[in-house]
């Protein structure tokens, strides 16, 4: 009970105390998940829109792959990326400068992109398909080009598209298995909030682990508020 109660006020103590280690962990978490989310959104939103708006040979297979990716366990993705990037793996063996090395933030970003991309694409696809089909015909009848039609449908589906981005962010910010495998939880280098929570729990520092959990929740809440705010500005102004 004491640990539990301590966990409620310790996040504030940690944040207000300006602990440099915690600051580094928080910043790395934000950097890794932020970049991974940006990459996933840039690829996933157009991909979801494409799958929702067009019909082409092999589309059902691509859709099935995206939906399967949404349900893929992150730890398995971590294992997959680990094997890809390890020295004897197909990518690691190439030893090219642009290929991320294991136990670096870049490797963690790659794993998180693979986790978030199907979420963003899949929810965008569902949002686009949820738009009234008659709207497309109406927009075209008003003289919209193909790109204008796609833009208008995406705009109509904006609530779902924002939900897709939020889902992607939630999926990677709270994820632990993949980043632990490919990042290694190295202090000062690849330790993020989720891996720090696991470490402190294993060490028996439950109050600190709970406090870190509180910080993680706070970041998730603030980030989602920011995403929703940005959505409001960009679409309604």
């Amino acid at each position: 009970m004491a640990n539990f109660l301590e966990g409620f006020y310790q996040p504030f103590q940690l944040l207000l105390g300006g602990d440099p280690q915690l600051a580094a962990i928080v910043l790395l978490s934000l950097r890794v998940s932020g970049i991974a989310l940006a990459i996933s959104a840039v690829i996933g939103i157009p991909l979801g829109a494409l799958l929702g708006l067009t019909r082409f040979y092999g589309r059902p297979l691509v859709v099935a792959l995206v939906y399967t990716g949404m349900a893929f366990p992150p730890v398995v993705i971590g294992l997959f990326v680990y094997l890809l990037l390890s020295r004897s793996g197909p990518l690691g063996a190439l030893a090219l400068g642009w290929i991320p090395r294991l136990f670096t933030p870049e490797a963690m970003i790659l794993a998180q992109v693979i986790i978030a991309l199907p979420l963003v694409a899949g929810f965008t696809l569902a949002a686009v398909q949820g738009v009234d089909p008659a709207l497309r015909l109406q927009i075209q009848a008003l003289g919209a080009s193909r790109w204008q039609t796609a833009g208008a449908i995406l705009e109509e589906a904006r609530v779902g598209v924002v939900a897709a981005v939020v889902a992607g962010f939630g999926g990677i910010l709270s994820e632990v298995g993949a980043v632990m495998l490919v990042g290694g939880n190295i202090a000062g280098q690849t330790r993020v909030l989720t891996t720090a929570i696991v470490l402190e729990t294993n060490k028996g520092n439950f109050a600190l682990a709970l406090a870190l959990g509180g910080v993680l929740l706070g970041i998730a809440f603030a980030a989602n508020l920011l995403i929703l705010r940005l959505e409001g500005r960009s679409w309604h102004s």
């Binding site: 008659a134 709207l135 015909l137 075209q140 009848a141 080009s145 109509e156």
Partner: protein, 242 residues
């Protein structure tokens, strides 16, 4: 009166099923042509062809002498000279005014404030310009859809049962606007309707479609009072079971 549209040997088929087969049809510039017929007769399909929203399976459609082809840029250019108001108004999640100016913005135009206000006033929506469009009643929404088409000043306005399920006040307002548009701007109007009284009130000519085939096209008075085809007579009398 010259022809704005000409259709020759046009068919639309889905698999083995032919939904429209028009051997020959000309729509004159500046006329109101009403298309009547039972449900499933191919009326809406005809409108989609006239708005260049789908290509025919076979045959040729000319608009102002220009053939409707597979060329995407040319099709878009032709599509922007006409527009359709559908039976169910589909409005964007925006204000009434933003919905009305939407078609203009697609063309890179803004529209003059006075002209927009006049259009809004003509359909009785001047007070609702800033209201979210999706909060409107069905009658108001259909008037927004009509205003959205009117501001584009199309050469041809295609109306797919624009007053179905509306109250008499909204029907009257929409009919007034259709008639005024045709009289003042000589806009060609193709009006698909189930309401034969409406066709009689508004149209210069009436076309009866049955099972995708044109049965008779005649001046409104002739169509209703002394049709040439017995099927037209039966349809007008309401004897046709469908």
């Amino acid at each position: 009166m010259s022809d704005l549209y000409t259709l020759q040997g046009v068919t639309v088929r889905y698999g083995a099923h032919t939904v429209l087969a028009v051997d020959k049809l000309a729509i004159r510039r500046g006329e109101i042509l009403s298309v009547v017929g039972p449900s499933g007769a191919g009326k809406s399909t005809l409108l989609r062809l006239l708005n260049f929203l789908q290509p025919p399976t076979s045959g040729a459609i000319h608009f102002d002498g220009i053939p409707f082809s597979a060329d995407r840029a040319a099709t878009l250019e032709m599509r922007r000279r006409v527009t359709t108001v559908f039976q169910r108004p589909v409005l964007l999640r925006r204000s009434v005014e933003a919905n009305i100016t939407y078609g203009l913005r697609l063309r890179g135009q803004r529209g003059e404030a006075a002209a927009l206000h006049a259009t809004l006033a003509s359909v009785g929506l001047a007070e609702l310009a800033q209201q979210p469009a999706r909060t409107l009643s069905s009658g108001e929404a259909q008037r927004v859809a009509l205003a959205r088409a009117l501001v584009l000043r199309p050469e041809a306005l295609l109306l797919d049962e624009p007053t179905a399920n509306l109250d008499p006040y909204n029907v009257g307002l929409i009919e007034q606007n259709i008639a005024r548009l045709n009289q003042e701007q000589q806009t060609t109007i193709v009006l698909v309707t189930h309401n034969l009284h409406q066709a009689r009130r508004l149209a210069h000519r009436v076309l009866l479609l049955l099972d995708g085939h044109p049965v008779e096209t005649a001046a409104t008075q002739t169509f209703f009072e002394c049709p040439h085809d017995p099927r037209t007579a039966a349809f007008v009398r309401g004897d046709m079971v469908y």
